[in-house]
């Protein structure tokens, strides 16, 4: 791959610099952080991953799904039942969990399309799925019922996907997964016909169908990919916490967090869900640093988060990343002349460009 196109506009230059810096910081972070802070970093990456994977169906295709909470739970329960209960290799259990979640997503989407439900019923229907599965998990002994499942394995290392004292390996596994998924999604969205069809379907499904895009099939595939990948952070979280129960990994709150997190970061962008995921983990940690009683930390975080979302939507913005992009474009506007860029501007009287209203 060439670097052509990475530096040719101010926005791309800024983004390239930010991405490189962020990756560098992410890689060296565990070297300077103690075990507890690395754990926070791992949780931040989990938030980022699940926001990102939700975004594949929710942001790019516009399917407001709350069934992704089930996918997260399926990933966690897969490793709890298969690896902790039946001695499977956790990596294999992760794969099985991802496949099961993908099938769930595929079937959900196909059924919803078959009956032609609208966006509101899509959200309600997927919510019903998650709540029904939660009820099943809460009453089925195989899934730990009300008490949950505990990992009693004593083995440590990469094959067992388990480290007791130092979460650094977990951190790097999550980081690697996030980078792979991001690069893969970026390539899919630009290079494949399937990926390019997704925003088209979101904007106008009827037009897309009339131009030969298999709308139902592509929606179902996007849901399958999105939910299958959402199972992976579920598995990682379960391995990290070593405990799984219906009210820790299969709650509607997780689904809402993914939806809300993606929208605050910028739905349908690549970086938005990641920024928002890491942001909320940082806010959580900041509040924990202040003298807030520990039981209230997550409450305050949620409140801050929800207020931000309301503010973002209320004032008509599309999230953090789109705001950043328009800010960069506005800042660089005086130097680059609008609108047809190629020929150098004739030096005459330049129009007055103010920072507050220019650009756009």
């Amino acid at each position: 791959m060439t670097t052509r196109g990475w530096f040719d506009t101010p926005l791309r230059r800024a983004n390239t610099i930010v991405v490189v810096l962020a990756l560098a910081v992410a890689v060296v972070f565990p070297l300077f952080a103690d075990a507890a802070l690395t754990g926070v970093g791992f949780v931040a990456l989990i938030y980022a991953i699940r926001n990102f994977t939700w975004n594949i169906a929710g942001g790019f295709v516009g399917l407001l799904s709350l069934a992704h909470a089930s996918a997260f739970g399926v990933g966690a329960f897969a490793v709890a039942v298969l690896a902790w209960g039946h001695g499977w290799n956790p990596w294999l259990a992760m794969l099985v969990g991802a496949l099961a979640a993908a099938v769930l997503g595929l079937v959900t989407s196909l059924v919803m399309s078959r009956f032609g439900v609208n966006a509101f019923f899509y959200a309600l229907g997927t919510m019903a799925i998650t709540l029904a599965l939660q009820g099943v998990a809460a009453s089925w002994d195989l899934l730990g019922a009300a008490t949950g499942l505990q990992n009693l394995g004593a083995e440590q290392g990469f094959a067992a996907l388990q480290w007791f004292l130092d979460p650094t390996p977990f951190y790097f596994i999550a980081l690697t997964f996030l980078v792979l998924v991001t690069v893969g999604t970026a390539l899919m969205m630009r290079r494949t016909r399937f990926g390019r069809s997704l925003p088209f379907i979101r904007e106008d499904p009827v037009m897309a169908a009339s131009m030969g895009v298999p709308v139902v099939r592509n929606q179902a595939l996007a849901m399958a990919i999105s939910m299958g990948l959402t199972a992976v952070p579920g598995t990682l979280m379960a391995q990290y916490v070593q405990f799984v129960s219906y009210d820790s990994v299969l709650t509607l709150e997780i689904g809402v967090a993914m939806l809300v997190g993606t929208i605050i970061g910028g739905a349908g962008t690549l970086a938005g869900p990641i920024v928002a995921g890491i942001g909320i983990a940082a806010v959580e940690e900041l509040l924990r640093g202040l003298e807030v009683s520990s039981a209230n930390v997550s409450s305050y975080t949620q409140i801050v988060y929800a207020v931000l979302v309301i503010a973002v939507l209320r004032f008509g913005a599309h999230g953090i990343v789109p705001m950043w992009e328009s800010a960069i474009q506005r800042l660089s506007a005086p130097r680059r002349r609008p609108p047809s860029g190629d020929d150098p501007p004739l030096v005459s009287n330049p129009p007055p460009v103010s920072l507050s209203t220019g650009g756009g």
Partner: protein
């Protein structure tokens, strides 16, 4: 055995009437404004926590407390409608859905911080405890909640179908452009509707509190139940919502006889999913004869 069943059916019926009342507020907002209020269950919680704080000791205090929480929730509803929902109404898309969802989160965690002890309740404000007849025992707060819900439901029905304000609300519901053409002040109608829905929710919460202890998580559960009631009831007529509420209450009560608690709720959700697929227009569809 049969007295157990009678007891369950009666309990379910009374609980169902309360669900109807909660669903009515959501139904009004949904059908008049076409807004899906995911924070509706938390308006019920305002009523529950409001009465909990006022802690009424006798019937008169309780009645006053119900009025106070209704006014309080109406104020909150007005602010929410005026400053969060109304500005985005013409934008369309999913922003209403996500805004009300986030608003629900704000409410939930604010309650979590303010009231850290879960499952609080108040002493029975009614002078009697329970009515027993032929092996069937029903607590008086439950009977009162059911009966008052029914009365309020009838009152709302009278308001919607027999008064000028109701006619204006129905006009907005049936045709927004038509309502605009005949000079209806649409924003004012929307505000009235939302305020009414919020007040009804808070009263329902106040009635629910002596029966069911309150905790912040209850808000989401009640929102979901209100959705179930509205979706199953359909958009055509108000009585569909009432019938659906009673059906939900009965299904829960009878379901608890055959399946353990959480599995029964699973069944309810699975049925709800089927209704969304097979009959998204609900029991009473909005096909009109005129």
């Amino acid at each position: 055995m049969s007295s157990t069943l009678v007891q369950l059916v009666l309990t379910g019926l009374l609980q169902g009437l309360l669900y109807s009342l909660i669903g009515l507020g959501l139904y009004l907002v949904f059908s008049v404004m076409r807004v899906v209020n995911f924070a509706h269950g938390y308006l019920v919680l305002i009523g529950m926590y409001g009465v909990l704080v006022l802690d009424p000791q006798n019937l008169l205090d309780y009645a006053v407390a119900l009025v106070i929480v209704a006014v309080l929730a109406a104020g909150v509803g007005y602010a929410v409608e005026r400053f969060l929902i109304e500005p985005g109404l013409d934008k369309g898309g999913h922003s209403q859905l996500v805004i009300t969802l986030s608003l629900g989160i704000v409410f939930q965690y604010t309650f979590q911080v303010l009231f850290p002890d879960p499952f609080q309740t108040i002493a029975n404000p009614w002078p009697w405890d329970a009515v027993t007849s032929g092996g069937v025992t029903i607590s008086v707060p439950r009977i009162a909640a059911g009966v008052i819900s029914l009365v309020l439901g009838l009152a709302v029905s009278w308001l919607v179908y027999r008064t000028r304000a109701g006619k204006i609300m129905r006009a907005c519901s049936e045709s927004l452009s038509g309502a605009l053409h005949v000079g209806v002040h649409v924003p004012r109608t929307y505000r009235t509707t939302f305020v009414l829905g919020a007040a009804l929710a808070a009263v329902a919460g106040g009635l629910l509190l002596p029966i069911q202890p309150v905790s912040p998580l209850l808000g989401l559960e009640l929102t979901v139940k209100a959705f179930i009631v509205v979706v199953i009831g359909g958009s055509g007529a108000l009585w569909g919502t009432v019938v659906a509420g009673v059906l939900l209450g009965l299904a829960e009560a009878v379901g608890s006889l055959y399946a353990p608690g959480s599995l029964a709720t699973s069944l309810v959700y699975a049925l709800f999913f089927l209704v969304i697929l097979l009959r998204p227009q609900g029991i009473v569809s909005s096909v009109r004869t005129a």
